[in-house]
């Protein structure tokens, strides 16, 4: 199982999401082709009810702590309850473009 699938599996098991997107956005960043370093995760789950954003993000960060201390460098998180998701028209914000990070000025290794 690659990292993307592992993230999907872990979140599915822990949050029983109504909607889940795990998007590998590494291609938008200064990393070699085929990397699994930058992900965007959209989770819509009843289990976020009554929880502040900070708490929701902490739960996911904790669930994915081994991925985050391994190769996953960036995790854009969009956590919503079904009500919030429908109120937003079923859309999550776009992630920003890379601006170089710690390798600003260098070309990505290929």
């Amino acid at each position: 199982m690659n990292t993307q699938q592992t993230i999907q599996q872990k979140i599915r098991d822990a949050f029983a999401p109504l909607h889940l997107e795990v998007i590998n956005e590494s291609g938008m960043h200064n990393v070699p082709a085929g990397s699994e370093s930058h992900f965007k995760v959209v989770v819509v789950s009843e289990r976020f009810g009554n929880q502040r954003l900070l708490q929701r993000h902490r739960m996911i960060n904790e669930l994915l702590s081994s991925e985050l201390s391994g190769g996953v460098h960036a995790l854009a998180l969009h956590t919503m309850t079904p009500e919030e998701w429908f109120a937003k028209g079923g859309k999550a914000p776009e992630s920003p473009q890379c601006m170089g990070g710690s390798k600003a000025g260098q070309k990505p290794a290929s």
């Binding site: 954003l53 900070l54 993000h57 902490r58 960060n61 702590s65 985050l68 201390s69 960036a74 995790l75 854009a76 998180l77 969009h78 914000p93 992630s95 920003p96 473009q97 890379c98 601006m99 170089g100 990070g101 710690s102 600003a104």
Partner: protein, 114 residues
């Protein structure tokens, strides 16, 4: 001073601190750029730490509040969150109030906030 003490002092002695990659004028990461831009939009001065220029903080900040990624926004000594939370609070109109309250609170009792 121990690096965790140094971070503690930074977040406690400044009402608003953004730990980011690069600076608000020259951000070096799209997520840091978005968080800085949301904060600048609130119209109050804020402190920032360029984590790329301070390897010790870059290395240790994730341990400080058990938050694994950058940027990290602290208001009145408390972790608010990273880019996505900062941007969502800004969109909802909450960030503006949090920032104004923190700045007014830091001026101390008896002083009129503008």
């Amino acid at each position: 001073m121990d690096v965790l003490d140094r971070i503690k002092e930074q977040v406690e002695s400044n009402p608003i601190v953004l730990y980011m990659k690069g600076t608000p004028q020259f951000p070096q990461c799209g997520f840091s750029a978005r968080a800085a831009s949301a904060l600048m939009d609130c119209g109050e001065e804020f402190s920032y730490v360029n984590v790329l220029a301070d390897p010790e903080i870059f290395e240790n900040l994730p341990k400080f509040a058990n938050w694994p990624t950058f940027p990290q926004l602290y208001i009145s000594g408390e972790l608010v969150g990273g880019c996505d939370i900062t941007v969502e609070l800004h969109a909802a109109g909450d960030l503006h109030k949090m920032v104004k309250d923190a700045v007014a609170g830091a001026k101390g009792p008896g002083q009129q906030a503008e």
